[in-house]
Symmetry: C5
Subunit: 286 residues, 5 copies
């Protein structure tokens, strides 16, 4: 994630930042610009069509469908943003649960070795989840405390060994039955958060919408020059790329933030959140 | 569900995929194209109406109602997507609850035969629910562990036998009263998820909306050529089908994802989710 | 509720079903058609106004307010649909809670007579709620098990006698304190669901919106012919009723589904849900 | 709150009800009508500007900003309605919690005097909350049972004395530890509901939006006559007030329902809800 | 936060308040006004372009993209408002939890010194959170009761010492195991609220949207004069700044309320809420 000051308009407008869709779109914008020039040349200079020709009214279609395309893009923007924000919410919940769980572990007056176990296990879950969502394997430092098998679901193994430890401590009398309910519930929340993140990661918006929006933008923008050439002449080479920039940017940003756990500039600060969890757990349990 | 890379624009635009609404709509698009040609022929060549005729202004109605139709389609899109996403959420919750339940069963140090019972029962619930939502009956492999009657609600029977087993284990002293609360709550969540899926499956959007949107699109598109013929001439045979494609696609995709548990290309990956549950439960309990 | 196949476009478009707003609107549509003809006659034949007259530009107002009216109708549609869907959600929750409660009752190994009590009481609550929402009194078959007074809130009496029975069974030692919490919570959910349904039923959208939308549609549609007559002539007699049909249908459907517990064709399948609860409870407890 | 039949269109359209925004807006509508006449007189008769003058195109700005103003009003409408509905939800929750709490109190077989205490205390909370939200003090009938100090937060005092009573009854052995958790949780919900209502009451939408929307509507409507006079002449004196009526009504209704606990005609039926709670609690505990 | 009477239209419209975006935008508005005059001078007086020139139709682009820009601004407005309202909700929850926790502490009949500890600790949490969200350190009055280290997360330390105290009191026999669950849960909610506020504070909307909206508004407004000059002449110097005012205000207000815990005029009344918590806790525990 890029940290920025949202009130600094000047650099926003004149710089082209890392996350700027302009970087990705300029080849397409130049192509569409050349295409527009070509259409204008054909219609105005080769076929010498005039404003009275039927072709000049094709823009009526673009006006009529202008509502539909903008509403569709807003639908796309809303759903992607909701996923991104839900992802952020889940990572925030991970922070909260980790802290709450650690505070209770601390208050329980467990033997030191047990506290070390959880001081190690809680941030390990966060790191393992992070790598799991990026399709990597995480084993963690001094992994002898919780051993995980590479071929199995790693966050599940960590959660499962924490739960087993809690039950064991209950049998040994360190934790009451009532405490066990509360502590198990916390670990279950780890798994719920993991499931929520997996759901966001594995389920992009339905395939048909993805295809339909792209097809629609493509045909829409490509047919604009045909009708508008009679009103705008060669100015099309500037105007059509700008329209493309606006419409395609919305789709591009939506694609990027839809899976918010990766390395894209707009993705969530997953690394920073994991590091914070590690730092806070250490603060609480030491 | 189709797995795809949402960033691959090229194949999206030029291929016609399995889930593409174009496949379903092309016969209708050709019909409307012929109809448009016929209207154009009638008005331009037979009746020889001119642009000064009142008929040429019928497009005013289409502009005015253009807002309404696009907002209605966005309403339709939003509600269908919400159901689809709620369905995904419920299946994700099924995964989470299954894992959490299994982790607790593991930590309880039950006799091996009891662990086998739940190792069998938990994924069985997922498979039974899947088939139940597709209106099939599921009995599962080595069904002697949990016997179900075909005439009764199958997921309910599985949940009920898990709950009864938990109470029995409590009476035998393997599970404390406090544990029982937590474990029963997990099985209750299975039933809640089942009820949520049944609700989505059995309740499409109100009949009146469904009728109204279809009637509205149909009349709207069919009357476009009448007024636009004076501005667009025979280009109508390309433009009107494209407008139909845009409007009807939104309704078609909405219809498809509204009941997300079937076999449609955009439906949820129900099979994969059930298999994952089976795999994870085995990983945890073995 | 009407059960239908949402993919069957053909019959949707050409049949006029029971829930179709066209049935209710046709008298109004004919009136507005005659009114439009009258306006056209006055302006074109009596006063012989021409397109250069100021009156012909009144349509500017309709374009400007076109956004507002369509957004308002979408607001109306969204809020009504949300209530309808929340109603469905509450009834779904009733099914879930009934099943979960019954499964736990079964697992408790209570004396047979106690099981009969709940087998009778749970579906009775569903039926009583249904009738309560339709402003009828329900006493149920063999009502001697739970006696209710007609003058008091019937679902409350049933819930209250179930709760009292649970406490009694706890005092007799059949149910542990921990179980009691869980079971009481289930019965409390019955009351929450009842309260939620009562809230939807008793609180239509604020009076001012209801008045304002109706007034707005009425004035909007009635003034359309005044300005459009110069562009559309006597075609108004077809076009204005269609615009009315579109705008008023949205308001009409919204009104119908706003209180979803009645007998309207779009209302929720309350009877079927109650019957299902009875069937499933019997399956579980027998 | 006004009780009404949402299907009775006729009286809605022709009567001017108590909650009708027309009542509040007519002086403003007449002023704007006179202003429009004055602008028309100046431009048409004094300066004798013609349609070819630049001034006549100022309407382009109104078209462009027409989207923005209508979307802004819908944003305003949505947020106000959400607050109103959340308020309704909170009052509904108050009803539910009161009933559930009473049912449990009844089932506990407490000494009669204790039951009297809660029969008095539960509805008292509802009445005290109602008056608290209207910035009045409530002491209630036979207030000796729960004494409240006027200078302190009254609903808090009632809730606190109920909680203290529950703990006392636990120490006396009438209530088990498990019951206490559940009962305390119910009383905590009273406080949560109170906090939720206070939040809605004390936090109108951000000041800047409130100012911005009003300024925007005002300038927007006031500048309409300047450009439209060349198309609509003196018809402006009817059209501009109608546009004002539509735009300002939405803002006015939003203002009214934003704080839904007062005495406005669209406010929630707070009195009736409190009375219902009193009635139902009496039914349950007697 | 500014306290205001939302029904006082007059002062809203004619005063320029502290939170008014006009204060921030007037330099930009004057610049754009001069720029518009310059464009008009160039096109009308230097190049002497006429309405038949292609340049005069550039406004077509602005109409087409008018939908997109207004929907984008509404998306921006909605998401910012949601964050603001979620922030308010969290602070409201802080009030509720503080009160509920205090009521239970009171009912527990703890030794006086313990009550003093919580009477001190609960409001301290609120103040510490407030300062934490404003990136300040808070130590509080007579801080010897709960000692915090400056270098660590301060609210966490307060929560942790409250939890440890509760466990200690349980070990000493003042609090039962069941009570401990409930009380710990309350303190955990403090941490959840803190995490929620941190999430809102640290995660502005994705960088790409922020850049894109600003770039879009900037280019959109700057190109308006080029095409509109032929219709509006030098009136542009008034109209273009007004359009800028409308579009940029929405972005500016959204920026301001996005992080609602600061000192901006539209930010939440964080100080007042903390003071109220202190006052109410004192009322309850004294």
């Amino acid at each position: 994630m890029i940290h920025y000051n949202p009130k600094d308009w000047f650099t926003f407008i004149f710089h082209i930042h890392k996350g700027d869709t302009f970087r990705k779109l300029w080849p397409l914008m130049i192509s569409i610009s050349i295409f527009s020039a070509f259409v204008a040349f054909l219609e105005l200079n080769v076929f010498k069509l005039s404003k009275s020709d039927y072709v000049s009214n094709i823009g009526m279609m673009h006006s009529l469908l202008g509502f539909v395309i903008s509403m569709l893009l807003v639908f796309r923007t809303n759903t992607s943003y909701d996923r991104w924000w839900e992802g952020r919410r889940l990572l925030g919940a991970l922070t909260n649960v980790s802290r709450n769980f650690a505070m209770k572990i601390k208050a329980l007056n467990l033997p030191d070795e047990e506290i070390r176990f959880f001081e190690y296990g809680i941030p390990k879950y966060a790191f393992a989840l992070k790598e799991h969502l990026r399709e990597k394997k995480y084993f963690g430092k001094n992994s002898f405390l919780i051993e995980v098998e590479e071929s199995k679901h790693i966050p599940n193994q960590i959660a499962s060994s924490m739960i087993s430890r809690l039950y064991e401590l209950t049998r040994k009398g360190y934790i009451s039955q009532e405490q066990l309910i509360v502590l198990t519930n916390d670990v279950n929340q780890f798994t719920d958060i993991c499931g929520g993140c997996e759901r966001i990661k594995n389920t992009p918006i339905p395939f048909s919408y993805s295809v339909f929006i792209k097809k629609f933008i493509f045909i829409y923008v490509l047919t604009i020059p045909i009708g508008w050439v009679f009103s705008l002449g060669y100015y099309l080479v500037l105007i059509v790329p700008f329209i493309l920039y606006v419409l395609a940017s919305l789709e591009l940003i939506a694609e990027e933030i839809e899976d918010p756990f990766g390395y894209d500039p707009n993705d969530l600060p997953v690394d920073q959140i994991s590091n914070n969890i590690e730092k806070h757990i250490e603060e609480i349990l030491n």
